[in-house]
Symmetry: C2
Amino acid sequence: MSTEKLPTRSENFSEWYNQVIQRAEMADYAPVRGCMVVRPYGWALWENIQQALDKRFKATGHVNAAFPLFIPMSFLEKEKQHVEGFSPELAVVTIGGGEKLEEPLVVRPTSETIIGYMYSKWIKSYRDLPVLINQWGNVVRWEMRTRLFLRTLEFYWQEGHTAHATAEEAVEETVRMLNVYTDFAINEAAVPVIPGKKSETEKFAGAVDSYTIEAMMGDTRALQAGTSHFLGQNFARAFEIQYLDPNNSLQYCWTTSWGLSTRFIGAIIMTHGDDQGLILPPRLAPIQIVVVPIYKNDQEQSKVFAAVQQVEKQLSAWRFKVDLRTEVTPGFKFNDWELRGVPLRIEIGPKDVDHGVVTLARRHLPGKAGKSTLPVDQLSIQIGNVLDEIQAALLERATHFRDEHIFDPNNYEELKEVVQNGWAFSWWCGSAECEARVKEDTKATTRCMPLDQPEGKGTCIVCGKPAQRKVYFARAY
Amino acid sequence: MSTEKLPTRSENFSEWYNQVIQRAEMADYAPVRGCMVVRPYGWALWENIQQALDKRFKATGHVNAAFPLFIPMSFLEKEKQHVEGFSPELAVVTIGGGEKLEEPLVVRPTSETIIGYMYSKWIKSYRDLPVLINQWGNVVRWEMRTRLFLRTLEFYWQEGHTAHATAEEAVEETVRMLNVYTDFAINEAAVPVIPGKKSETEKFAGAVDSYTIEAMMGDTRALQAGTSHFLGQNFARAFEIQYLDPNNSLQYCWTTSWGLSTRFIGAIIMTHGDDQGLILPPRLAPIQIVVVPIYKNDQEQSKVFAAVQQVEKQLSAWRFKVDLRTEVTPGFKFNDWELRGVPLRIEIGPKDVDHGVVTLARRHLPGKAGKSTLPVDQLSIQIGNVLDEIQAALLERATHFRDEHIFDPNNYEELKEVVQNGWAFSWWCGSAECEARVKEDTKATTRCMPLDQPEGKGTCIVCGKPAQRKVYFARAY
Ligand SMILES: [Zn+2]
Ligand SMILES: [Zn+2]
């Protein structure tokens, strides 16, 4: 860890973000433009995210599989809007085994096409439905402006792809997975996302309807943190995914896809972090507790180390680390683990040992506010509660911050103002023209139309025409 | 499941292998030549393999991370033997975002080069060593002749990459990971591999020494099932991976790499399978137990289903499935789950219910030999023992088969004969000429020189010169 101070979030949020990631050793730039290396500390966080999601996927009847990295170029061309959306972003393999390929291969930017092709082979009868498959993997999109975790050429994600007999079942699945993402974000990551529907302009290339969870970052910008798409029969028709119904008549399937990526790590960092560095939610933190022994001489050391051993035994149910480094001071260690966002620190000094206690320091409450003592023999009973309390406090703080920065402007002038430092939640007529005008005037885009809509109707904040729904406008990552 | 019979292993082992994989829905061919789709049943097996290995990696101090898919072509060229070994097999991205790239990007065939580059950035001092990182991911090698799991253009694996201060520590790590693979193969997969060292001819491109675990398949051919490489300072020099030692003097690191891939699934299939299909070892099987209710009328059904519910409660600690399909007969179900290699079947019919028992059928012992009954209330206590007993029986059977097919030929003529249906374990002078001669005469290659060597010395089975070590010769996948 460098000893230089981080830039504060208020002076330069973007620079704070870049530095905290690299100094906390979450990720690094790769030698290929726009690619990242996810370092062990960042990958351990991703593994915890994967487990929390995978458990939910399996509980809702999904299974995992693996489809190829390479997709024939002709596959993408089978769905018109899909190829229009993705063709500017493709990485293309033209040489294999020293020879020019007859048909270039696209490195998958997403897998609807190749999975659609396989589903058309596998699905014969209504008895084969629904097909509920998820894949954990890497995808590539040739982005021009990249940032660690938020937008990189290669990123890691899961993509679920399902096929159903009816439109109703497919829509139900789309919303089910949106709810899974919402539940995960709120209850595991303490990121109070808002679920809703994307506008026509913002939807996925090839979808009938796209749903999203939108999170507010510490600079009030929005981040699309996961999406779930109802694909109608678009891909089923393009790839002939058909089944025989109980009357022996051939029908097209209805499909969905849904994904959440390493981008979510960016959401966690920018939701919870402060000027000292990361703050990781206990349920996902790679290290939930760091233990720092404090001593000045050999006699104190042996006394403190004996207590550390007792503490270790009591912490076995949690992910903890004892920092035994001798080349740095306890103060250095405090800063180091604060930078890395470990939610709870246990300090053990000679006085603590004398009193049979340890000192707890909560990462999200700097200084004395976050400190308390706990009898050593209470640790295994109490520490779970302390971590739960921290988890709840992070969610509450982020929710409060979000709600404080969501505005209901009275007119278009006010909208233009509030989106400079927050989100506007406003009636919108649904036209792409009004969306485009807001974007041009403010850089804010429509983020989502929440599923829970207020009663009644209103008038469009932009054009004044009748509006059926309210939408969030915000500048976004 | 098609009702057509599988080809037997003795009439066409290769065709048996292809069909069993597809009919058990382990994997399928992708629309891109030489690529595979790992279907949910196959991927669940891979996930169990991953967990069993990952646990061992973490227990030996390793952490996971993710390095990029794309490697600049110039990186590969930095290690002479590495590029010579891999350049015929590369997939190359030449177009990104619609533009021709200035420097083509290789889709990683293995990651020594890009990880070496990152290590040179991260490692500064002896305090940073050892670095013990593993990566789970996909790699691409442009193979000409491909087979599901055994050799595909894209495959899935883990690759460990470590850096150490001394040669001794790096060699120790190389052997430690070889032992981890051996332990995994024997104790989780019931595949009795033989660990040993590769010859100079057969070693990894860029390694000083390569170690391998070699498994004998059901047709007696050998399969290299995992490798561990001591890379010396070859990659450290190519990528300037250096550290300051305690005397503040700059030293090159010593590095290792080790990998095990989805090829191992092929090893499991070809070690244990029989003419009815797969036989999966209980510790790795996606479904350890299948429960098949048997009834002829509604009255029997309600009686049997009540018992099934009792059974389900007792099986909660295992991976089990109750086959409730109504459109197929119990006999069809038996064949279906036998094809898929589920190690234990529980049959519950009206008579079983009357006697308060269930009927167990062990997959690896066809017919009555594998059947027994167990009181329902004993299930949760006994079923673990039954699975352990099956696991042990599979290992014993495979070990017996292997040992029966390892020969100690008296002369070269005998060697040529025995490698047609087995392995030869013979003294070898170590020369590439003798290796080449065996390969030309018999298609058999040197597989490994086991670490446990017999006492004494001998004479080379090929040329008659003095030989220090015995080696396995075998035809291999
Ligand atoms: Zn309007
Ligand atoms: Zn010789």
